[in-house]
């Protein structure tokens, strides 16, 4: 199969390989490394989750209403990023940009709620340095939040590029990678919701 694939690219591209195909595979492998990164943080959190050192635990701190709203926002944004790719595949630049804007707004909403939640916790005296549990909590959830924020910067930058370059194989490749990344963050959030919040308040 590798032979057939190589022949294929050889025939029409004189030994040069389809860069989008390479980038997509590279991006998938990058996501594997990100899975390991989050797994390590999850493991750390699970080991330390009961080490509250006399400080507040999850059950006292978590505001589940906020968490449910966050979940709703992020899951919807994952759906709309899928719609953006569908619009792109139909060749509709307008549809693509519009759905990306909706996705970005939903993502911003998620970040907003998360920041609010963090600020609330700090006001209640639950800091990063209060206990091992809270160090692990802020790091795990914060790393996810940082990923979402970076994704937003990426999304906004990509919209400018799309305006300037139009729909080319390169820009299409970038949108596909972004969408993959966004779905991945969604999947990580499901685990966060379960392991951190639901198991925390149970």
């Amino acid at each position: 199969m590798a032979q057939a694939a190589a022949h294929h690219s050889h025939d029409h591209d004189h030994g040069h390989h389809d860069p989008q195909e390479l980038k997509m595979l590279g991006f998938w492998i990058f996501l594997v490394t990100d899975v390991i990164l989050f797994s390590t943080l999850f493991a750390t959190f699970v080991v330390l989750r009961n080490n509250t050192a006399g400080g507040p635990g999850g059950a006292e701190l978590f505001n589940m209403t906020g968490v449910i709203i966050e979940t709703f926002l992020l899951l919807t944004s994952s759906f709309t990023s899928g719609l953006a790719v569908l619009a792109m595949n139909k060749g509709s630049m307008k549809g693509l940009i519009s759905w990306l804007i909706v996705t970005a707004i939903l993502g911003l909403g998620f970040i907003g709620f998360e920041v609010y939640e963090f600020v609330e916790m700090v006001h209640e005296g639950a800091n990063f340095g209060t206990s091992a549990f809270l160090s692990a909590f802020f790091t795990l959830v914060g790393t996810h939040g940082l990923h979402v924020s970076l994704g937003l910067v990426w999304m906004i930058g990509l919209m400018f590029q799309l305006k300037k370059r139009g729909l080319t194989p390169e820009t299409k490749g970038k949108v596909s990678a972004l969408s993959l990344y966004w779905h991945f963050l969604d999947a990580v959030w499901i685990f966060l919701l379960t392991v951190v919040y639901l198991m925390g308040v149970m």
């Binding site: 594997v32 080490n51 050192a53 400080g55 990063f128 340095g129 206990s131």
Partner: protein, 658 residues
């Protein structure tokens, strides 16, 4: 005001030790010298255009190797200082704190800033050429990986003269590495030096996996792939699973130190054992990351210099993947004595022992490859043969250490030191040196002179046994590691003296290698590799001229056999020539300054985090972000074509009349 400056300078710069003043002076002189030479010969433009901004995998490889050799020197000097200190009892060359710094930096540099870059250098030199590709999958990322490694290494080395070196051991176990017990900036240098270069390593892992999966020449099925490329592939698979763990571990340690977290502290619910588990979940696979490519090199070299196909190719490949998988189930053998319980210890003892099986398979394959072969004793082959008896010792003592109850005796003793130096010098360094000699003509277009190479080999090899065999005994006699001095009453003096002599023999071996390279450069016309295939090689890199032209292959080869170049040469000898496809324009990536500039910003950010100076790390991080955005916006015209005529002219010039 002046007092304040003085006070700042006395904490900022490391003072009070004549050796450090000596280092300051030599660093300053070397820098002035380099700047002067570059200016005098007007080479700044050349340096920038050909090296600092290059994305050519061959040049990136050479830069990796050069940096690795420099780091070998630095780490080697550390080793010699330690051996002088331990040669006889009650030596006061190094005070204990300085000794702690030296063993810490020695270990860190040798593993992360010497072995890793030397390995990546060989990856870069050999892999694209072996699989018949024009470049790696992501040339820009490849250059970025190199510069991240380089800046990380420089940041780490800076600790020597600015701020103070880390002294909590090469893996920086908490609570010793926590702020409470290591209040200086040394630990921060450790964290950021490794963190920055670690990002580069991870990117290299991804890069080479994609390269090997997607860019093999037509006809090169998985089971026709050269065995070195296989070893790189398995090593990269371990990298992508292990390095994210290191990234997180160091980040958490930094959050403890910088942000007041409690991951690994002794109070507020922190768990130092957590760190030790995490660091070894990266650390043990790391050993296999560096040794698997060495196995790949031995396989290539032994086959070529025995003029025989590799015995048991498929079992070699399976053995490498067995090792890659098993490497993730061995981490707890590093702390059998820390109270994990009998069941856990038994599990990790057995999984550690099991690794000996695929490794043994490989050793037998190498022996059978040599059996009835026509062996020529060139330097790469000498290093490969010398590896086998040594690895037997390293392997057997490794199995001894993996026996959990016995480990309670050996733990943290010189027995352990001797074992892992056997594995890492005799296994890894010997292999990389063999690879360096083997591919040297492909890199530079001339072979290295054999005579000084053989002197180097014998000094290294004999010195190696003289240095480490006594340490097995010292370990059993009760000498523990990280010991800065000992008394006459211990009875360790004679063996320690022998060990020190051995270390210096290896140092002389290194000097012979430097001499060998200098002689090679001086006589390069005489040593010129005109054939492109000085060893009678079997893989595709030997089918092109030395040094390889920037586009590697004028036409992409069509692979038919496992040792394709041997098969091709046989056919040519019989007068059967393959029809060459016409030369066409070649698609190439453009040079880019972004990897270098971005890594400089990483360095600035890292330096800021080391001292907690926001006026450094904020601009540094902003610079990194701007570089990333620039790259994204300008990535659309990152390539160009070499016209077919130019390729034809180049080929005609390097191949002479052919």
């Amino acid at each position: 005001m002046l007092d304040k400056i003085k006070e700042f300078a006395s904490t900022f710069f490391v003072t009070g030790d004549p050796m450090i003043y000596g280092a300051d002076v030599s660093i300053a002189l070397a820098t002035i010298g380099i700047v002067f030479v570059l200016t005098y010969f007007k080479k700044w433009g050349w340096l920038w255009k050909n090296w600092l901004t290059t994305v050519d995998h061959k040049k990136v490889g050479i830069m990796y190797i050069l940096a690795a050799i420099l780091m070998l020197f630095r780490g080697g000097v550390d080793a010699l200082l330690m051996r002088v200190q331990l040669a006889t009892p009650d030596v006061t060359l190094l005070h204990p704190e300085h000794y702690n710094q030296i063993f810490t930096t020695h270990g860190t540099i040798m593993i992360l800033f010497m072995a890793m870059p030397l390995m990546f250098g060989l990856f870069n030199i050999a892999v694209p050429l072996q699989i018949g590709a024009r470049d790696v999958a992501f040339p820009f990322l490849n250059a970025l990986s190199f510069w991240l490694f380089f800046m990380g290494a420089m940041l780490f080395n800076l600790s020597f003269v600015i701020g103070g070196s880390p002294d909590a051991g090469w893996l920086s176990y908490p609570p010793l590495s926590e702020l409470q017990f290591s209040p200086g900036v040394g630990q921060n240098f450790y964290i950021w030096g490794i963190q920055i270069s670690g990002i580069g390593s991870l990117a290299t892992g991804i890069n080479f996996i994609v390269t090997i999966i997607k860019m093999r020449a037509p006809g090169m099925t998985w089971m026709k792939m050269p065995v070195f490329t296989w070893s790189v592939f398995s090593s990269c698979v371990i990298i992508i699973f292990a390095f994210p763990i290191l990234t997180v571990t160091l980040a958490l340690l930094f959050l403890d130190r910088f942000g007041g977290g409690h991951f690994f502290t002794l109070d507020f619910g922190g768990n130092p054992m957590m760190y030790i588990n995490l660091i070894w979940m990266w650390g043990h696979p790391e050993v296999y990351i560096v040794v698997l490519p060495a196995f790949g090199i031995y396989s290539e070299v032994i086959s070529v210099f025995s003029k025989k196909k590799l015995f048991g190719y498929k079992s070699m490949v399976y053995a490498m993947f067995m090792i890659a998988i098993l490497s993730f189930f061995t981490w707890a053998h590093h702390f059998f004595t820390m109270g994990s319980g009998a069941d856990v210890n038994a599990f990790f003892a057995i999984s550690t022992m099991v690794i000996a099986i695929p490794t043994g398979v490989k050793v037998f394959n190498w022996l059978f490859t040599m059996y009835r072969g026509k062996i020529t004793f060139k330097t790469p082959m000498m290093w490969s043969i010398a590896f086998i008896p040594n690895f037997l010792i390293a392997g057997l003592t490794g199995v001894m250490l993996s026996v959990a109850p016995a480990d309670f005796q050996f733990h943290n003793s010189y027995f352990l030191i001797a074992h892992f130096h056997s594995a890492l010098i005799g296994g890894v360094v010997f292999g990389y040196l063999a690879g360096l000699y083997y591919w040297w003509p492909k890199m530079f277009g001339f072979t290295l002179p054999e005579t000084p190479g053989k002197w180097a080999f014998w000094f290294w090899n004999i010195g190696f046994y003289v240095c480490f065999i006594p340490q097995y005994s010292l370990g059993l006699m009760g000498m523990t590691r990280r010991l800065s001095t000992y008394g006459w009453d211990t009875g360790w003096q004679p063996l320690n003296l022998v060990s020190t002599v051995g270390a210096f023999l290896m140092g002389i071996g290194f000097l012979f290698q430097v001499l060998q390279i200098l002689l090679g450069i001086k006589n390069y016309r005489k040593l010129k590799d005109t054939t492109g295939d000085p060893w009678g090689g079997h893989t595709l890199e030997w089918s092109i001229p030395s040094p390889a032209p920037e586009y590697n292959f004028a036409t992409i080869p069509q692979v038919e056999e496992r040792d394709d170049w041997w098969a091709e040469k046989d056919k040519r000898a019989k007068g059967i020539f393959r029809k060459q496809p016409p030369i066409e324009a070649i698609h190439m990536p453009k040079n880019s300054a972004i990897p270098f500039i971005m890594s400089v910003f990483f360095f600035i950010a890292g330096f800021g985090f080391v001292f907690g100076w926001s006026f450094f790390y904020i601009p540094g991080l902003i610079g990194v972000a701007i570089c990333m955005i620039c790259r994204s916006f300008f990535s659309y015209d990152g390539d160009y074509y070499i016209p077919a005529d130019e390729v034809k002219r180049t080929e005609a010039a390097i191949r002479g009349s052919v």
